[in-house]
Amino acid sequence: MNQRDQTTHGSIDLSLCDREPIHIVGSVQPHGFLFALDLPDLTIVQASANAPTTASVGERLEDGFPELAATAKRYLEGAADSDGALYLRTVTLGSGSTRQAYEVAAHRLDDLLVLEMEEAEDASVEAGLDALNPQLRAFVQRLHAAASVEDLCHLLAKDVRHITGFDRALVYRFDRDWHGTVLAEDGNGVLPSYLDLRFPASDIPAQARELYRRNRLRIIPDAAYAPVPIRPATTPAGKPLDLSQSVLRSVSPVHVEYMRNMGTMASMSISILVDGALWGLVSCHNQNPKRVPLQARNACDFLTQIFALQLAAKVRGEHAEQRIALGAVQSRLLGFMAEEDSFVDGLLNHPEDVLALVNASGAAVVTADRCRLLGATPTEREVRAIHDWLTARGAGEEVFSTEALAETFPPSAAFADRASGVLAVSVSKRFASHIIWFRPEVVRTVKWGGNPVKAAQPDPEGGPDRLHPRKSFEVWKETLKGRALPWSVPEIEAAKDLRASVLGIVLKRAEELAAMSEELQRSNKELEAFSYSVSHDLRAPFRHIVGYSNLLKNREGANLSEKGRHYVETIIEAALSAGTLVDNLLSFSQMGRHALNKNTGEMGALVEEVRRKVERDVAPGRTVRWEIGALGRVYADPFMLRLVIENLLSNALKYSRDRPEAVIEVGRLPPQDGEAVFYVRDNGVGFDMAYVDKLFGVFQRLHRVEDFEGTGIGLANVRRIVERHGGRAWAEGTLGKGATFTFTLPLREEAQ
């Protein structure tokens, strides 16, 4: 540690720990000794200060320790490619009072061989792997039977403690932020229980985690040890000796202090690696100093590896199960989407499946002009804010997921209760659109093993500030807010798959549309030619019939009998209605071809203008009461919308003309599904709901011509215009009581 650095920066951040070079500490623990040997002649280039003086630096190993040299040569001849120190054999060195058994471990380091001799008790030498065999077998059997990850962890804690005899064994799991939680514990009551406690990420700094990944097992038999330096300090290459793989490696003074603070004098930890990544640790502690024979350590390492395999299998099994369940939902949704004209309808009509696909409580399908909500979601405005934020950030982002939205999108804190978890897929780049799922906030109370926001303490001896691990392991409770249950891998995959399906469907539709568009253009041309000739050629004969019949009536009427005049009257009427029909048909076809010219305007003003116009045709003496509510602004083609209103108002007048007082109501309902809703209600003759489907058809009439004149084109025009605007039109009525015609127009922000 650089003292100058620390004094200049008055406050000390715990991430300093992250920079401590713990793999090159330059010393070993005193329960063994170390040689670094040059190859190929095994010359001693470095030795720990406690090495027997039989051979010293510069001499060949063979000269002082022929037994060790033979072992080392055998190791070098074998395939020495394993990562980490390999236990070779137990040797006994010295004689008489200096006689001591050592477990010899070796590992390669560039062009050096590192040999470590760890003191062993003679008795433990006998307890070979065989003695542990029944124990291991029983463990494997129980592992298979374990139902949950927690059960697996309990078995591991129990067996590791049983094999090693530590006071307490913990199984500790890292979360996404590298905070650790104690999932299982086994102990004899000497040390306090840490079960369920959470430890901050700074307790195990980044480079320690990397070391744990590379070197699975570490042991400190006595935290009160005095480190033994390695001499000389550097290798022949001029570097400090890398002790990453060393079994005797001295640990950081910070760690030793941490242990003392915890009230433990011996510790051992074994890394749990799942698919090469550090998943957690088995952490064992003893109140008093304690050595664990190498065989027992190897057994624990072995147990832990089996545990990790079982864990990986279990997680994969759970994922596979979830994938199958989600796959069923997904294929149902795919079917629904394929059935509908628009994939959006396929989703909107089956909200349960949309939510079940990723186990969400709410969802939204958001496009540039529409926002449809399913289940428990934030408001439309809030969802749109999320959509805009996603659109702005997402360069090439197909899927976005978070369990704590407010961490990256702070405004969302206001609606954390509905959207702390967000999973979103973008379904079109060109027209920014998203399918977004929501999960509510789950407030949890976490028991920290001490305040995670720990601060460095000044050195009590008044020296420069030095990094101290925290002294307090008092439980410190924290309420975690703004977090939802995390999205599982299969859930995120299901969302991605849905995105792919949607894109597939949309793409297929686009191709079909392109093919249809040519066909359409051709038939549109034909239609134009057809309506042109109808306009000219069909209309003219009707005019002529009407004209000549009129001439006949006016100029030759006197020569006709009463019957003859009646016939002529009928011819005129018939030809006239045929001509009107042609006119209406043409206007209907023009309606479909006319390009929409949408802009924003006052609906109330439009209705008022149309009302004055249609009122001119009201028979004198009729009483009509208009009830026109607040209609607000609307985004539409005013020319087309005028036709809609005109049709609806003149219909309302026409069908209420027998009422002593006609009451015609025009109003606007609260918006629904992103649409403005308008209605026109009358107290006229109404209609039978059995025929409601016929109401909007071309030339469909529900009344006899003698009762109510008309060609039956008006409502067809209404529906056509409304649908061309992207809205819907429908009717409700009761025979003899009146009718209500409702239509919707898509809302645009600026029209609100």
């Binding site: 042109y532 003219a540 005019r543 002529h544 009407v546 004209g547 000549y548 001439l551 206007s587």
Partner: protein, 153 residues
Amino acid sequence: MAALKPILLVEDNPNDIELTLAALESSQLANQIVICRDGAEALDFIYRRGPHENRQLQDPAVVLLDLKLPKVDGLEVLEKVKGDPTTRGIPVVMLTSSREEMDVVRSYNLGVNAFVVKPVAFDEFFAAIKEIGVFWALLNEPPPHRGGWPSNG
């Protein structure tokens, strides 16, 4: 001005001619009514060519022009008349069965004076013809000739 200017009716359909004449008749206009059966003949009349070479040097009071005509159609006639400074002043009323928006737009772009879709109902048709006749033949003041000869002079 000497005698009343003639009304030129350009129409190929005999029924329409008869009905239009009946309507004009009932409006009791004294103007002569000249009938041309296609666009080419109408242009001959206006420019005093072919069979009309020797007609009196006088522009029609109004041209009632059908849209769909044999040989040269109504829009072509309109284009020719309105594109020529010497005939531009002649009022042209499109009198047609067509309700096509495109035709209306094109006609106005070419400078038509009015565009009338013949109503199906007899009374309305009569009223329309009558109004057109009275307005263009009696009430409308044509632009004065500024020096030179009258058209085609």
